[in-house]
Symmetry: C2
Subunit: 201 residues, 2 copies
């Protein structure tokens, strides 16, 4: 899904879940392994089973004196559009650590995490996003490798029409909603707000 | 890590991340692929790259008239010990849906999710746990395939000495902490509570 508009990184299924440089190699037959109850990708050459799991994206809505840090993407998908710093959680990394690292990598900025702002579910692409509220420790920021430009936006200057993904819009609105609250329940997107409905399906 | 005490399921790295029935087959050489910056497992036979990602565990602390639903594990790790219903999030599944499904599978119980109780990080085993607070829709429950026994415990009868994992203890204590609160910040474990400290590392 390299062109998926909900994917905050260019790390598509083919590059993140597994890839091979030899045509036809690797797990490629979908079948239910013995003792399992769901179809998995299996390599017909060596019987290796490729379990696929949802991916965790971590990110931060970070502010400096009321201004919001955004990055203009230098990579597909959504090259040229604006996003908060966010990306895939790495192995052996805590979620808040990952948000700090992504902000450092994409915006060369240092932040202090303040609260869990939101958990967004995008089941269509098997993604769970943990977005934190954070404060910049200084206004210093600069484009990292994956950004064309980074900037601190006054709230009324946020480029709403040029945001990269729905979850960027959700996160900015949720940030605004809890702006004056020290303690709040982590927000979620519409799917999960309907907890009464989904819990009985 | 099949014997890891922080793993709420028997779904260890070898069965969840990938497994092969042929000895030595599948991704097994750790090397940094071209264009990457971290070592990955590569299959020397076909060059297939096995990307490894953190896993998401979802679960619920569910109550019925003040009693807490717990399951005694029928499987390793920690067979015979008690846990809240929890397990790995599946592909194309929202986190709250997963908590409902796990409760159905492990305790044959129906719940309604009320709030995100906690996000626990266990970076040593690359696990992020999303634990919800929930209410049973009836006191009906019964052991699912992975449970030897399920029961509704009065708070002062919780088998603290026989809980399966640290995160079960964390979740129960956090449940108690926010028992009377409709709105609260999702809890986390010690690592992430030290946000001021970890955000600058």
């Amino acid at each position: 899904m390299p062109d998926d508009k909900n994917t905050p990184r260019d790390t598509s299924a083919s590059t993140k879940a597994g890839a091979s440089t030899k045509t036809g190699a690797g797990p490629r037959v979908r079948t239910i392994p013995d003792g399992d109850n769901r179809p998995r990708l299996v390599c017909p050459d060596c019987d290796y089973i490729q379990y696929e799991n949802p991916l965790i994206v971590v990110g931060a809505v970070a502010s400096w004196e009321g201004k919001i840090l955004l990055c203009r993407r230098a990579i597909e998908p959504r090259k040229g559009y604006w996003t908060m710093p966010a990306g895939y959680l790495e192995l052996n990394e805590a979620a808040a650590h990952g948000a700090v690292r992504e902000t450092r990598e994409e915006a060369c900025a240092e932040i202090e995490i303040d609260a869990l702002l939101a958990v967004y579910n995008i089941p269509r692409i098997s993604q769970v996003q943990l977005i934190y509220r954070a404060t910049l420790v200084s206004p210093d920021c600069a484009p990292g490798e994956e950004s064309e430009e980074v900037a601190l936006f006054d709230w009324d200057r946020i480029p709403w029409d040029d945001l990269a993904f729905p979850s960027v819009i959700w996160a900015l609105n949720h940030y605004d909603e809890v702006r004056d609250q020290a303690v709040f329940a982590a927000r979620t997107n519409a799917l999960d707000n309907a907890w009464g409905e989904i819990s009985r399906d």
